[in-house]
């Protein structure tokens, strides 16, 4: 195999995941949170494909494709929610949605 070993991919995936997680935890705009979630999902995909390469089995790639489908579904629902918020003229700020407060 040419190029870097798998551990570099793992570390890159970890960096991507952390970045996405920080985006989810720090940003207040639901759109950007959704985008950050996409980054996290993609880092998981990267790992899946890297390990599929490591083990020489294609099942990891199947997983990655399934994750893509799930991610697409999640985007549909998430965007649907955001559109609904926009139509109701709710401020796009997750900190304002606190009705679940204990």
């Amino acid at each position: 195999m040419h190029g870097p070993d798998i551990q570099w991919y793992v570390i890159l995936a970890a960096l991507l995941f952390t970045t996405g997680a920080l985006g989810v935890m720090l940003r207040r705009n639901p759109l950007i949170i959704l985008l950050s979630v996409e980054i996290m999902l993609n880092s998981a995909n990267l790992l899946l494909i890297a390990f599929a390469r490591l083990h020489g089995r294609e099942d990891g790639q199947i997983f990655a494709i399934s994750v893509m489908a799930v991610a697409a579904s999640e985007v549909v629902v998430g965007l649907g929610l955001i559109v609904a918020m926009g139509r109701r003229h709710v401020e796009l700020d997750v900190d304002k949605l606190r009705t679940l407060r204990g």
Binding site: H2, I6, Q7, V10, R28, Q61, I62, I65, M68, G80
Partner: protein
């Protein structure tokens, strides 16, 4: 020589990937964030190619970078420019500290695992044939070993589609109520 070229490609793609991810997280305007995510997805597709995932890379670019991101941009455009409503961060200060600490901890743990516990296992990738990751072999797997996953995925997508429609029509109902 081939190895060197691959290294160069990898480094470029990895930096592009990280930079675009940081950009997604840090732009205050979601429109720019979404555009950065397209870059992120594209550079990831390059990495997938390096890992012999031809079909996944193609799917990444077509489905993700194409369809999904177009939907994102549509929504952002539909909602209009609301940057003033979405401050970068804020909330309780412990949230920021905690988030950084947790993220750092996860990162450090992964590095520790990779560096100390993997024991060189990650450096010995298996030998693979030419058809690894090709559409043909992926499709064969999907229709044999992973048939159930394949079918269930279709149901998940259907449910999501229905959910999107319901959410949209619900919103319309609210609008109608508001008008009357």
């Amino acid at each position: 020589m081939a190895n060197f070229i691959v290294w160069v490609v990898w480094v470029v793609a990895a930096f592009a990937c990280l930079a675009s991810a940081l950009a997604v997280v840090s732009f205050s305007n979601p429109f720019y964030s979404a555009l950065s995510l397209i870059g992120n997805l594209a550079s990831l597709a390059v990495l997938f190619l390096l890992l012999a995932g031809e079909f996944v890379a193609a799917g990444q670019v077509l489905v993700y970078g194409g369809a999904v991101m177009v939907m994102f941009l549509f929504v952002i455009a539909y909602l209009g420019d609301r940057t003033d409503e979405s401050p970068w961060s804020g909330g309780p200060s412990w949230q920021v500290v905690g988030a950084v600490l947790a993220g750092g901890a996860i990162l450090a743990e992964v590095c520790v695992v990779v560096g100390l516990k993997a024991g060189g296992f990650l450096s010995k990738p298996a030998h693979i044939g030419r058809s690894f990751g090709s559409p043909e072999s992926i499709g064969r797997l999907f229709l044999t070993d992973h048939l159930v996953a394949f079918e269930v995925t279709s149901i998940v997508l259907l449910v999501a589609a229905v959910g999107g429609v319901v959410l949209g029509s619900h919103a319309r109902q609210i609008e109608g109520d508001a008008r009357t």
